[in-house]
């Protein structure tokens, strides 16, 4: 009985150890966390390119598609006769400079979809900082081209980001003193997602005719607690409307907006 038990334990442990050995014998690749890019005031182009290269081959995850297989253009080798990405970027879109083209490709990747490829590139601004994105641009420019990214690009991006987001709050938190409802709707970017007449976007439920469907109290509730209920047909975007308007609008502004919308029949 003891011999049988020992045999069973040996087979079990032997199998476990073999799999452990096998997994340790193959190339070891760790998924790093993108480190915050700390560039000194007088950083050099080489430092920026080096930081971009680290991101490109590391935490940026670029090589998962750019460099293997046929998912995305290979940036480090010539695509056809166009040369490396640093050479060919200038000619990609007429009138758009290389660095602008590359930057746009990273933050709005489907804007410049290369023919023959699927729109699979993610918006890198969701995972990388502005400085990291510019570092990537600099690295790609260095592949066969001249690096044109300068400190001003990074500073400009950083200040624009700070102005739009404040201390981590949603965009457009700067409240004005206006009491004009339509101006308030525009100022608080409601019309980015909601249609009102000919103006606005189709992401959220339209505000045109909202007064015929909801009374003032419901509208007020929907502005202050936008995610308490979901309008039928908009489940896919549920939870996306900011619930910060209670803090951004004064009581009078909120009331002006509510009364205005309640009259939209």
């Amino acid at each position: 009985m003891i011999a049988t038990n020992l045999k069973i334990i040996s087979v079990t442990l032997g199998t476990i150890l073999f799999y452990t050995f096998l997994a340790n014998a193959i190339p070891q690749v760790e998924s790093e966390v993108p480190a915050a890019l700390a560039l000194g005031a007088g950083f050099t182009t080489e430092e920026l390119v080096s930081a971009g290269e680290d991101l490109y081959f590391g935490a940026g995850g670029c090589t998962a598609c750019h460099g293997t297989g046929t998912r995305a253009p290979n940036l480090e080798t010539a695509e056809g006769s166009e040369g490396l990405i640093g050479e060919r970027c200038e000619a990609r879109t007429e009138g758009v400079a290389c660095k602008e083209y590359l930057h746009e490709s990273l933050v709005d990747p489907n804007g410049y979809l290369v023919e023959g490829y699927q729109p699979i590139m993610p918006d890198m601004s969701r995972t990388l900082s502005d400085a990291q994105i510019w570092a990537l641009v600099a690295y790609m420019e260095s592949l066969g081209g001249e690096v044109s990214v300068v400190a001003a690009d990074i500073e400009e991006a950083a200040s624009a980001s700070a102005a739009s987001t404040g201390a981590g709050a949603p965009a457009a938190v700067t409240a004005s003193a206006t009491m004009e409802p339509l101006e308030l709707l525009r100022e608080h970017q409601c019309l980015l997602c909601h249609m009102l007449g000919d103006e606005g976007g189709p992401i959220g439920p339209p505000l045109t005719g909202i007064g015929a469907e909801q009374d003032a109290e419901s509208i007020r509730h929907a502005i202050l607690q936008p995610n308490a209920d979901t309008t039928a047909g908009y489940e896919a975007v549920a939870g996306t409307m900011p619930a910060t308007f209670g803090q951004q609008l004064t009581a009078a502004q909120l009331e002006a907006m509510v009364q205005y919308l309640a009259t939209q029949r």
């Binding site: 049988t4 799999y19 096998l22 193959i26 998924s31 966390v33 998962a64 293997t68 480090e76 939870g239």
Partner: protein, 607 residues
Amino acid sequence: MSRSLRSCRILSALLLAVATVVIVGPLLAQEGVTIGRQYGDFPVIGARGAVWIAAQVHLLFAAFVLGVPMFAIVAEAIGIFGKDARYDRLAKEFTRLLVIAYSATAIWGAVLTFFLTTLYPAFWSHLAEIFEVSMWIYVGLFFVETFTLYLYYYGWNHWKVGRAKLAHWGLGILLNIWGTAVMFIANSWLSYMMSPPEGMTADTAPGMVQFWSAFANATWMPINIHRIIANVVFGGAIVAAYSGYRFLLAKSDEERAHYDWMGYVGNLIAIGALIVLPFAGYWLGREIYEYNQQMGITMMGGFMSWLWIIQAFLIGVLFLAGNYYLWVGMGRIPGAERFTPYIKYMLLVLVIGVIVWATPHTMIADRDELAAMGGTHHPFLGVLGVMSAKNTAVNLMILTTFLSFLLYRRANIRPTVSWAKTGTLIQGGFFVLAALIVLFYGIYGYFVTAIVRIGFSVYQVLSVLIAIVAVVIIDVMLARGAESRGDIRWGQMPPRSQYALFVLVVTFTWLMGLMGFARSGIRQHWHVWEVMPDTSAWAATPALGYAAQMISVCVAVFLAMISFIFWLGGLIEKPDVVAEPPEPREPLLESHRRPIPGSDLDFQPAD
């Protein structure tokens, strides 16, 4: 150990788990509660290691206690409707182990919850704020499931004939429903971490998230289905290994025959369900890609690409060990010797299939490696590693394994129907046709674009599935009124065959750990994908080598504990074993009460 003592222990574990979820979770979730720190620390292995082990071992136990009831109700149904008492006894024997394993599951669940609340308080608060309602429902279902299990097990001998037996079977079905519901709820939490509602960003406060959009997220249902099937596979494998252990230690031929048969049933269920599992995995993978291409690419072509080579190897081991067990088992079947010459060809197909499937293709590589290969793909292996070749290999492996089962099933029967020869030829025709379709699309896939090639896998899978269904239907009809070439000599298996069952269960368990790492690891440094970053010291996703060590620790802990439970089960109650053959044919639905041969008479209520 007395029943009351056992019940107390189980109840204590349950109360511990329930108290954790009910008290700690919502407290942290309350709006306005200040989380003093983001992360805690754990000695030696760190916070991530502690949560990793607790989560993985809890999941393995959970898979066991969810898989075995499915196994039990099917076995009980065969016992009732097939009037075969062996299956009833089999179902009860495993439900007994289930009762003990249930407390281990609850304890590990409590450990996991405590680790999360103390080591990842901010993350737990985020999760609880969104899912608190489902956590309360979870707790309620947990109670209901527990008491249904008590009724099911302790009522086995009391409700064993007539309508009462059917009602008892109904309890088993209820047990499965509660267990599945509990699993679905827990799955929503982890799948939310992978695929939070689209549009949700780091600025979205958890309290603003619509509950249902977070609960029924993009990967929730594929994971549910994948886990249901995987639990059946796991339950079958554990049953088979348990039987193997009992077989090796059996003291009589009767006992050996019983556990030989039980091992066969467990292996049949495990490998049978395994054949379906890749299709559920394919659905889950597709949903991941549809939800977020980057996540999908990270999974299949990014830093995790080597993981799939290890997975292919492990599944290859499963196919080889499962088939080996069947081939050795044919030695105890009169008439099976006529199929022996074909075994070497089936082995050849399986080995070639494993080699092709485990061939690397789109590997993440640095510049030096790319230069050494002379391009992005290996000049020779790159051709074998593409999906056309891999899909072809795996479909042919599935067909071959099914052929093994068919030969095993046909080994000791001689069909007597007039169309027996024609039927066998048609069956052969289905096999050949399916193999040709698989090969055709495999080769054609090299000449079309990727998007067209992906669609070919559907034709390959469908042809194999249709062949399997058609062949089974014909075989069932062929077996009607068939003559026996001799009884199966249960118990006359060489001991080496039982070690194949141990390799199977270790491989299944290790594979579950590996796939758990894949599912969780593709989030990389995010607690909740692109919503809540992991800013702890353990945020980087480790390489496969480190992950393998963690997986092995989890597997070893689980197997040690489950072995202890099996041993404990043996101490509590020794199952009676009846001589086989002849197979007992007890009419369980008879209105009069008679003890079932081999049933546990010590629990027979006084009536």
